[in-house]
């Protein structure tokens, strides 16, 4: 019986590859946007402006504290009543970018805070402007503690992207659901789904492990 289903599964392989491509596209775009927004917010979150810090903090809490599916629904179904019409794909990318940005924001902020205060003091004493301090002194050092969890976050992003199948984006998970109706061997179908995610995530996890090792070697005992 497994052999029969297996052949069926092979026939579905093209749609799985399309799903894979969709997952990669949604995750990839969100990864870029989320990283940029996350860095900007993280820098302000670690900064001196109290109001900005509080606002960003509240935003992070809200995003971290509610289920992602609800966020997707709000962006896709409720924003239209405010006049913002979105395609499923762009809604998915926006929701996912927003989610990722909120996590990256925290990672970046704690990376910046972890840079010894003496570093920015030395730079202040030398007359570097706040932006110069950030750019030349603090961020390069913070990257050491930011990079490993950042890549770890990318792995979560890829896996969270499966939620957007609820609004009709045909990603790996959705293809899995569609296929399981024909090939009722759920274990096998979702095994393949797992395998495809594994194929994306495993290199990322290794990358994060590698970065972590490298960063600790480079780290100095100041």
């Amino acid at each position: 019986m497994w052999g029969f289903y297996f052949n069926e599964l092979i026939r579905s392989l093209p749609s799985f590859l399309e799903g894979l491509w969709m997952t990669v596209a949604v995750s990839g775009l969100s990864l870029l946007a989320g990283t940029v927004i996350g860095f900007i917010c993280g820098i302000f979150r670690a900064g001196k402006n109290r109001i900005l810090r509080t606002i960003i903090g509240a935003w992070v809490d809200l995003i971290r504290g509610t289920p992602f599916l609800v966020q997707v629904f709000i962006i896709f179904f409720i924003l239209p009543s405010a006049g913002i019409e979105l395609e499923a794909f762009s809604a998915a990318v926006i929701a996912l970018s927003n989610l990722t940005a909120s996590f990256i924001c925290e990672i970046v902020a704690s990376g910046i805070i972890a840079v010894p205060k003496g570093q920015s003091e030395a730079a202040t004493a030398a007359g570097l402007s706040p932006f110069q301090q950030l750019w030349y002194i603090v961020l390069p050092q913070a990257m050491r503690s930011i990079l490993p969890p950042l890549v770890g976050q990318y792995v979560l992003l890829v896996k969270d992207s499966s939620v957007v199948s609820a609004i009709g984006v045909v990603d790996i998970t959705r293809v899995g659901w569609l296929t399981v109706q024909r090939i009722p061997e759920g274990l096998m179908v979702f095994g393949l789904v797992g395998l495809l995610y594994f194929a994306i995530c495993y290199p990322l996890i290794n990358l994060s492990g590698y970065l972590e090792r490298r960063m600790t070697v480079v780290s100095t005992k100041l």
Binding site: P67, V70, V193
Partner: protein, 222 residues
């Protein structure tokens, strides 16, 4: 979709929400507790000198981290009966959540342990503590104290992931929202209320972690 927002219907479903809220609470609490224990054990194995133990823990951690929880959940629910293991839904759910978060906790605790000043371990050795005693009395309390924040993050992920348990017929918070959606066709009411309940859990966890952080973290002796 928000024009007809119906508070009365929400009130009507409040008993269901309350019941499901409690279910989510205790399922998550149980899994959280288990996950931390599993995490400690897996981390101890990962850091042990035995290649076999460390390798086994490595396989466990990486395969969990690079596949979606959904696939794992189905594996346990539909896979285990094939091997003659029949467990109640909630046990399956708790096991899946525990093993899933356990892998993440192992990584978090490992980072915490590796961040402990080597002098602490040496002081323990010099006092004549055995390996287990050092772990138990010196390293773990500090590692747990230092990793409260990432542990909180994972706890939040766990709580939200518990929504997947509705797929294997466990009544929990997400399910309550879906009832309102599918019986009354009131998606906005259903999902927003669900989100509010999750937010309540989030703030409870956050307050708890803030409290325990104050209690557990003592600044490194200068």
């Amino acid at each position: 979709m928000l024009e007809a927002f119906n508070f009365r219907a929400i009130l009507e479903y409040m008993p269901t929400y309350g019941q499901c809220f409690l279910a989510t609470l205790w399922l998550s609490a149980l899994s959280l507790f288990g996950a931390i224990l599993v995490g400690i054990a897996a981390c101890a194995m990962r850091l042990s000198h035995s290649r076999l133990l460390s390798g086994a823990a490595g396989v466990y951690i990486e395969s969990i981290r690079s596949t979606p929880l959904l696939a794992q959940l189905y594996f346990f629910y539909f896979g285990l009966p094939t091997f003659g293991v029949m467990l109640p839904e909630w046990v399956t759910g708790v096991i899946a959540l525990t093993l899933n978060s356990g892998a993440y906790y192992a990584e978090i605790i490992r980072a915490g342990i590796q961040a402990i000043h080597s002098g602490q371990i040496e002081a323990g050795i010099a006092s004549g503590f055995s390996y287990l005693q050092r772990m138990r009395y010196i390293i773990l309390p500090q590692a747990l104290g230092m990793t409260i924040r990432p542990m909180l993050g994972q706890a939040i992920v766990l709580v939200k992931d518990s929504s997947l348990l509705s797929l294997i017929s466990i009544l929990e918070l997400t399910r309550a929202g879906q009832l309102l959606t599918s019986e009354r066709f009131m998606p906005a009411e259903g999902f927003l209320t669900t989100a509010v309940f999750y937010l309540i859990i989030y703030y409870m966890l956050k307050a708890f972690s803030g409290w325990s952080e104050k209690k557990l973290i003592f600044r490194e002796a200068h």
